[in-house]
């Protein structure tokens, strides 16, 4: 039963894209995964419209006082097991907003993060690698 469950999760990770106050660069690179050049639907990855359908949350952007409660709510609304992938340097370690008054720290202070993908923005190859690593952790 557990094997079946793992197989299903690994073969069809549906992704929900949480754009929490990013500069939009990582978001554009995430959308770059879907068209023919990288075509992540080969691995069963589908971008879904609702966190209720998601198995993995791709969070982008530096987390701040305004976006923190929203991100936490989206995380709580996602059915478990759910992966969290921090996309971009801002999401991994605050990047250039390190000493900002409004940045309340990287995501792993609040929710478990399964993969960190550094880069400003990260390349689509790096994102696929990060997702694969997050899935192989399960």
């Amino acid at each position: 039963m557990r094997d079946l469950r793992l197989w299903g999760l690994k073969k069809s990770p549906w992704v929900y894209h949480v754009a929490a106050a990013s500069c939009n660069n990582c978001d554009i690179e995430i959308l770059e995964l879907l068209p023919p050049r990288y075509d992540v639907e080969r691995f069963g990855v589908v971008l879904v419209g609702s966190p209720r359908h998601a198995d993995a949350l791709l969070v982008t952007g530096v987390i701040n006082r305004k976006s923190l409660p929203r991100v936490l709510e989206v995380y709580e609304q996602t059915p478990k097991p759910c992966l969290v992938v921090a996309v971009g340097s801002c999401a991994c370690n605050n990047h250039i907003f390190r000493n900002s008054y409004n940045a309340v720290g990287p995501y792993d202070k609040y929710i478990p993060v399964h993969a960190y993908i550094p880069g400003c923005p990260p390349k689509p190859e790096a994102m696929i690698l990060g997702l694969v690593k997050a899935l192989s952790k399960l």
Binding site: M1, L4, R5, W7, G8, L9, K11, S12, W14, P35, P36, D39, E41, R42, F43, G44, V48, G49, S50, R52, H53, D55, Q77, P79, K80, P81
Partner: protein, 318 residues
């Protein structure tokens, strides 16, 4: 039902259709995704992809939103699944029964099928309204509007074969699927006449809308209302909705082949329905989404007059 399809035969048929039709539907869903990928110059998912999706959803956590009508929320997907299972039983058994005994369909089963097809949009509306989500409420109202839109030309287009059979054999055999199939066996498919072609085109558009595919995927527009009617569904109920959709994806083309294109008599019927599936997928991939009032205007002011013309043509025997 008739004498032939009763007792253990009925149970066996029901179990067979409930197992076979969803599997065929999931395979067809893969065909849909594969053809879409090829249209967009992508490679596309492997063939087991829909099975992995459904398996994952079945074994995942199910969240019932706070403040929702819990029973209705969880009951709606089952309602849709039950409706489609009955459609599968009636459609396949009357096709098969026409081969062996002429007796397996009952008078009025076309009307029963109409109501059973309506169970799917109904359960989407019920489930969305029970979920206490504003986005789902928008989706439910759109689903209702578009259902009112496509049902009118759909019923009128179904009148075409009924009128043709009724003129020769009387109303009693015209309202039976078995009667329609037997008529087509004797006089050739309805599709090979002017009114038949018009009716087939109208039913094709209706199939697109019933499946919720792109020009008419207004109730669950992902980019504007976050999957609309199914926004709050997760886990097993979502899987039930996906399986229901997959069953519709098999049954709607088979229904079109049954009523207009000669019935399911041989392997050619499967090829015909595969052709209809590919047509639907191509239509899905080459069209933008309409707004809800555009879709309603399309169904009421373009397709409905066309359907009335088809019915009049069938009255004068064309």
């Amino acid at each position: 039902m008739s004498v032939w399809l009763s007792g253990w035969r009925l149970v066996l048929w029901f179990v067979a259709t409930v197992v076979v039709v969803p599997i065929a539907g999931l395979v067809l869903t893969w065909v849909d995704r594969f053809v879409s990928a090829r249209v967009q110059w992508r490679k596309g998912p492997p063939f087991y992809q829909p099975f992995a999706d459904v398996l994952k959803l079945l074994l995942k956590q199910t969240i019932v939103p706070e403040g929702s009508a819990r029973t209705l929320f969880l009951f709606a997907p089952l309602l849709a699944f039950a409706g489609m299972s009955l459609v599968a039983l009636i459609l396949l058994s009357s096709n098969f029964g026409a081969v062996v005994s002429q007796r397996t369909s009952f008078v009025g089963d076309i009307i029963v099928l109409l109501y059973l097809f309506a169970l799917v949009p109904l359960s989407f509306i019920v489930g969305a309204s029970a979920s206490r989500n504003p986005v789902a409420a928008v989706g439910a109202s759109r689903e209702m509007t578009i259902y009112l839109g496509y049902e009118l030309p759909f019923v009128l287009a179904l009148l075409v074969p009924v009128v043709k059979v009724a003129q020769r054999w009387g109303v009693a055999s015209a309202l039976r699927l078995g009667g329609l199939i037997a008529y087509q066996e004797q006089f050739g498919p309805f599709l090979y006449s002017i009114s038949g072609v018009i009716a087939a085109i109208i039913i094709l558009f209706t199939i697109q809308a019933k499946l919720g595919y792109v020009p008419f995927d207004i109730p669950e527009a992902e980019q504007e209302i976050m999957s609309g009617v199914i926004v709050e569904y997760s886990g097993a109920p979502l899987a039930a909705f996906r399986i229901t959709r997959a069953m519709m994806f098999v049954l709607m083309p088979l229904f079109l082949v049954t009523v207009l294109w000669g019935g399911i008599r041989d392997w050619w019927a499967l090829l015909k329905s595969l052709l209809i599936v590919v047509l639907v997928v191509l239509m899905k991939n080459t069209n933008p989404r309409l707004t809800v009032h555009q879709a309603l205007a399309f169904f009421w002011f373009i397709l409905t007059p066309l359907a009335i013309v088809a019915v009049v043509l069938s009255f004068i025997g064309l």
